[in-house]
């Protein structure tokens, strides 16, 4: 975040470029700048808050079991709701970095208590999941603080996956992955459109974007890790029906950026891309991971890039590990894919040399 003076210069610049129509709330902007200045939020402190919330939740679970409270349903329900309410209130009213650990702990503990309480009432698991989805979605409308919104998105997607698994409609995971992929690509490529909406939507943009990436990774893990759930192998390509066209579209957008206008090069790139993407039709986790990597680099979102790299490496390794082929066939596939990538490398280097000449 820039300092007051720099923000002033940016606004002055905008007044020049945007003309007389440009109106802004000076007090609001500088209130936020001062607030950010006093908080100095960084990735380190955010991760520390989450890690702190995590160990606090773990010890709280220990407390519940040690005290034998897991059977007192009314108390669990009641306390759960109070915890969630308190977390939302603290986040909404104060939205301070130093209160994040308390808010995360209370929020997650609240859901755990609520879940325990509802299952003690012998309520159907579907009702528990739907309640979780409703409460988390409502949280997004009430408070737009980073941490709580991020966790809410994860709880919503986690509940959807839980619904799919508990009802044994395993193949619906493809629908989940496709929906998240579409949401992800739409929100990434329409950043300007979304953040020029309301102030609340703008505040929600970052946590939801991060949440969506994690949600997609979870969905891809369910598809990519063999025997985790019983997905029918015959329909494994369903996720790719959406992933592959999105990737092709991204390749088209990348070609626009790197200014490839030569028809011959375009055809060559599309053909080689198709050659690489075709086998991933049966490994949608790999194409999904590539999608995360490319789209995050597209908008220069570093957390996404890091997650994309980790996901790509993991899903490729997992895929080849699980593949029911002899090591010889695997080696041939791997080696030829490697050669194909090296061909890509020499092609791009070649075009660079041509440009320089």
């Amino acid at each position: 975040m820039k300092q007051e003076q720099e923000i002033k210069e940016l606004i002055e610049h905008l007044q020049q470029t945007e003309g007389d129509n440009f109106k802004f709330d000076e007090a609001g902007i500088f209130w936020e700048v001062r607030k950010n200045e006093s908080e100095k939020a960084s990735l380190t402190t955010r991760i520390l808050s989450i890690a702190g919330g995590f160990i606090a939740t773990l010890s709280f679970m220990g407390f519940i079991f040690a005290a034998g409270l897991e059977n007192s349903e009314v108390m669990l329900l009641f306390t759960g709701l109070i915890f969630i309410g308190a977390a939302i209130y603290v986040n909404k009213e104060f939205d301070k970095l130093i209160l994040d650990t308390s808010a995360i702990s209370a929020y997650v503990m609240g859901f755990i208590l609520l879940g325990f309480g509802m299952s003690q009432f012998k309520l159907d698991w579907n009702i528990v999941c739907i309640t979780f989805i409703i409460i988390s979605t409502a949280t997004l409308f009430i408070t737009q603080g980073f941490i709580l919104s991020f966790i809410s998105v994860i709880i919503v997607s986690g509940s959807f996956i839980s619904l799919i698994i508990s009802n044994k409609y395993y193949d619906l995971i493809h629908l989940y992955n496709s929906a998240i992929a579409i949401l992800l690509i739409w929100s990434y490529l329409n950043e300007a459109k979304i953040i020029t909406g309301s102030k609340e939507i703008c505040k929600l943009y970052n946590p939801v974007r991060t949440g969506l990436i994690f949600s997609l990774c979870i969905g891809l893990f369910v598809v990519g890790k063999r025997d985790l759930v019983k997905i029918s192998v015959d329909y494994i390509w369903l996720s790719s029906l959406i992933m592959t066209p999105i990737l092709i579209y991204l390749i088209y957008r990348i070609m626009q950026i790197i200014k490839i206008r030569n028809q011959k090069s375009e055809i060559l790139i599309y053909s080689l891309s198709a050659l690489i993407l075709l086998p991933t039709a049966f490994a949608p986790a790999i194409s999904g991971a590539l999608l995360i990597l490319l789209v995050s680099f597209f908008v220069n979102y570093k957390t996404g890039i890091a997650l994309g790299i980790i996901a790509t490496i993991y899903f490729i390794s997992q895929y080849y590990y699980d593949l029911n082929l002899t090591l010889l066939v695997k080696s041939l596939i791997l080696f030829s894919t490697g050669i194909l990538f090296l061909l890509f490398y020499f092609l791009t280097n070649q075009s660079k040399t041509n440009e320089e000449v």
Partner: protein, 362 residues
């Protein structure tokens, strides 16, 4: 392999980006440049764009243009990214393919041919690195691939002479044979591979040979080793200025070291007859103090955070060991929330102080 290529790319890319920002030459569209007065080069970042946009009627087109010109990656970043992506994936997949091929253990292939092919590949790739005038980065990635081929070569040897694939001496041999390359290239990803190999060798040795080594002793050994490597790199780069070491690399070693010390102390707390626990506590305390001093000196919140979190986890262990009744568990929960909150509060205060000093210095 792939991780290393990517990590390297991100590091290079960030430096490049910072440089661009520093000199304010991040590309601006022509029409925008015309509207700027002579010395008024603006520089938006994503946070500022989001902030101004949420408190103004800034048009969607204007925001899109600002994001495209100042935040999103441009043509040169994309070209760098794609080149490293392709070469890392290319070398990574090819090396994996070769290793899988030998793992197949083709019976028709004579053992001399098997080892011969592997050795031939190692020789050819090394010669490529030595004799060509290719970019240093590409050469480094190839050499990292060759390092994995050496592992494959030793595995083939193990396959023929039935030494076992997870024997500690397999990793020891691998480590020894690549030492020279690691030192000569000074390539951080290759160093990371090397350190992983040494750690793996130590762990396997403790499991396969030194059965009398306790878990706490192994953790003490691994912690001490990684801490020494960390301090050596910091000393050589920051104080002697002999080498340039990327921050992610030192951070990763620090994180690995602190994981070993935390696990070791926790195991020591819960298990009886841990002779080396006090030694580990002593070594860890000295290193933690050194890390905190270094963190304060170099204004790094990372070191302060990991040390604080490790101490909190260890205190958790001590408390739970003393009693695991409900009252204690509730106390531990509150302790975690309060202690992490206090640490964050202190970190914010320290950061403010650093900012103040920087501004006063300017």
């Amino acid at each position: 392999m792939l991780i290393f290529g990517f990590v390297l790319f991100v590091t290079n890319y960030q430096h490049k980006k910072r440089g661009k920002r520093l000199f304010g030459i991040k590309k601006l569209s022509d029409d925008l440049l015309n509207t700027l007065s002579e010395n008024q080069m603006v520089n938006f970042d994503r946070t500022s764009i989001h902030l101004i946009s949420s408190y103004s009627n800034w048009s969607e087109q204007g925001v899109a243009r600002a994001l495209k010109d100042h935040v999103y990656n441009d043509i040169s970043s994309w070209k760098d990214f794609l080149r490293i992506l392709f070469v890392a994936l290319g070398i990574g997949f090819s090396t994996a393919g070769i290793i899988f091929f030998f793992a197949y253990n083709w019976a028709d292939l004579h053992k001399f041919v098997k080892i011969g092919i592997m050795e031939g590949l190692v020789v050819i790739t090394t010669l490529i690195v030595v004799l060509t005038s290719w970019k240093q980065m590409v050469k480094n990635i190839i050499l990292t691939g060759t390092t994995f081929l050496v592992g494959g070569m030793i595995a083939v040897f193990g396959q023929i002479y039935q030494t076992g694939a997870n024997a500690y001496d397999f990793f020891l041999g691998w480590t020894m044979f690549v030492t020279l390359w690691v030192i000569i290239t000074g390539f951080a990803p290759l160093w990371l591979t090397y350190l992983t190999l040494i750690n793996t060798t130590l762990i396997l040795y403790s499991q396969q040979v030194a059965h009398d080594w306790s878990m706490v002793f192994v953790c003490t050994l691994l912690f001490s080793f990684n801490a020494i490597v960390l301090f050596a790199f910091i000393w050589l780069s920051k104080y002697k200025v002999l080498i340039v070491v990327p921050t992610w690399f030192t951070n990763l070693i620090a994180l690995a070291a602190i994981c070993f010390s935390t696990i070791g102390v926790i195991v020591g707390i819960f298990e009886k007859h841990q002779d080396f626990l006090w030694l580990l506590i002593l070594v860890a305390t000295i290193c933690y103090i050194a890390e905190v001093i270094y963190g304060l000196k170099t204004k790094s919140r990372f070191y302060l955070s990991i040390v604080a979190f490790s101490v909190i986890v260890i205190i958790n262990g001590v408390l739970i060991k003393s009693s695991s009744k409900e009252g204690m568990m509730l106390f531990v929960t509150l302790f975690n929330i309060v202690s992490v909150t206090l640490v964050i509060y202190q970190l914010i205060a320290i950061q403010k102080k650093w900012d103040h000093e920087t501004r006063a210095g300017n």
